[in-house]
């Protein structure tokens, strides 16, 4: 991996040299949450740090992440022989933008292409692995009440850096159909 700012970006995401794409993604998610939500780690210094400083840090994190994604894409371009065995990052951002239907199956495909385990998502989003799995299987009856399921899907989509609104709207449209049917039955 090369690129002018490559090591600076890794440093911003607090990663060692040679970090994998999935590690980059995890670090990015972790830092994004850390600097945008209150937690026991940030509360003690809430009054010391200005909103502007926080915004600036978030901007740097975002820039580092996007920059690293680009260098991974470049790497994909040059290492064509590896392409078949590696997740096709080059197309990923593009496809996910173009995609409009986010079935459980589609979500799983995207996740697998990114080389991300359900456990990783569970760890970072605090949604149980079993629910994540049910989401991908569109196993609606196993999912918790609607409001929770909505929240889970948003977290899941955010973890994959997808447009969470698009994902949840599409996903819940099928969920609603199923729910209506259930209600008719009873």
């Amino acid at each position: 991996m090369s690129g002018k700012n490559y090591s600076k970006y890794l440093e911003t995401l607090e990663l060692p040299p040679g970090a994998s794409l999935s590690e980059i993604r995890k670090a990015y998610q972790h830092l994004k949450v850390l600097y945008s939500r209150e937690s026991i780690v940030t509360l003690p210094i809430e009054d010391e740090i200005s909103a502007e400083v926080k915004r600036q840090i978030l901007r740097q994190i975002e820039e580092a992440y996007q920059g690293l994604l680009v260098s991974f894409e470049k790497e994909e371009d040059t290492l064509e022989n590896e392409m078949s065995s590696r997740p096709e990052m080059k197309n990923y951002e593009q496809t996910s933008v173009e995609l409009t239907t986010f079935t459980g199956q589609a979500l799983r495909k995207i996740r697998e292409r990114l080389n991300i385990d359900l456990q990783d998502i569970a760890l970072s989003t605090r949604v149980q692995t079993q629910y994540l799995n049910d989401i991908e299987l569109e196993n609606f009856e196993a999912l918790p009440p609607e409001a929770y399921t909505r929240g889970f899907i948003i977290s899941y989509a955010e973890y994959l850096s997808l447009d969470s609104k698009k994902v949840v709207d599409d996903y819940m449209s099928r969920y609603s159909v199923w729910k209506d049917e259930q209600e008719k039955k009873t």
Binding site: L31, I40, T42, P44, L123
Partner: protein
């Protein structure tokens, strides 16, 4: 242990602090000491927690009759005050009230003690500091080649840690400014903080940096030299592991302070039971999860590296 007139090599000094009381500093220090001793390294533990010296309890031995007091009052050499810890390769030196206690020690005595600690005949000297951020505690902390801090997943412990590290950094900065004839710059800036619109650590640092090119250089050098090693103790869930990463990130991004997150230790009720039974946990339960975690973090301390996250992740699922 006999101190040679001239040591071939001075020991590597590790100190353990962190501000808040009861986070497990003494437990961690004694356990890390045992790990090192079991690897055949010659270790001396110094209990410098003068209010509540209790390291011996973690080793399951009686309180030694001799202490640092004898060094100051009877001029007995430090190495003669090191007692058997009950563990091979490991000695123990007990502090005492009035030796390193806040205000109880003169500056020259302190320097003498530090000089003698550096001449002890051992591979590693581990110093337990006790709670608080008094400047004597901080000065002892700064003596280290590796400065270790222990936190637990609780807001107060984390708050105290930030306070402790900021203090430690300023103390070190002031000491080194002293040698440039700039000793009072920091205090003066802080005294007149209202005038300079300084409200916190970062603003003070920025203000000092702006004073002169020399100041800027000194501060940048001191910031890049400063490094703490973070241990996260008493975690209850695997999610809490990441708190160590978060604290490390905040220290760097908000304060510019470097650190390594060397590892975590789970909560294990057996630990207090061992203390009550006057057993050393590491020896009584060498195969326990905590013992393994302590071994791993000791390795990371030796290597000066962060926990290996990829490895930790595989382990995660096993924690309830």
């Amino acid at each position: 242990m006999i101190m040679k007139a001239i040591n071939e090599r001075s020991p590597e000094i590790w100190t353990i602090g962190g501000g808040k009381g009861g986070t497990g500093k003494s437990f961690v220090l004694s356990s890390v000491g045992i790990c090192l001793a079991l690897q055949g390294k010659r270790v001396i533990l110094i209990d410098a927690d003068l209010g509540g010296a209790n390291l011996h309890t973690f080793l399951g031995i009686n309180k030694p009759g001799i202490s640092l007091t004898n060094f100051f009052e009877k001029k007995i050499s430090l190495s003669d005050l090191v007692v058997d810890s009950g563990i091979k390769n490991m000695g123990l030196l007990i502090g005492a009230i009035h030796s390193l206690s806040p205000d109880g020690i003169k500056y020259t005595q302190k320097l003498k003690l530090f000089r003698h600690i550096k001449q002890l005949n051992a591979d590693y000297v581990l110093i337990d500091l006790g709670a608080g951020a008094h400047f004597n505690t901080i000065d002892t902390f700064l003596l280290a080649d590796k400065m270790i801090v222990v936190i637990i997943p609780e807001i107060i412990a984390i708050e105290n840690l930030y306070f402790f590290l900021k203090n430690a950094f300023f103390r070190q900065l002031i000491n080194s400014l002293g040698s440039h004839g700039l000793r009072d710059v920091v205090q003066n800036a802080w005294k007149n903080r209202a005038e300079h619109d300084i409200k916190n650590f970062t603003q003070l640092i920025d203000y000092l940096r702006g004073l002169s090119k020399t100041m800027e250089n000194i501060i940048n050098t001191k910031l890049s030299d400063f490094k703490a090693y973070i241990i996260l103790n008493r975690i209850n869930t695997s999610q809490e592991i990441m708190i160590g990463n978060s604290v490390k990130s905040i220290c760097k991004k908000y304060f510019g302070l470097n650190s390594s997150y060397v590892g975590y230790i789970e909560f294990d009720p057996v630990i207090s039971r061992c203390i009550n039974k006057r057993q050393s946990y590491m020896q009584a339960y060498p195969a326990s999860r905590c013992a393994k975690e302590i071994e791993r973090l000791t390795e990371n301390l030796l290597e000066g590296r962060d926990i290996i996250q990829r490895y930790e992740r595989k382990k995660l699922q096993q924690i309830p």
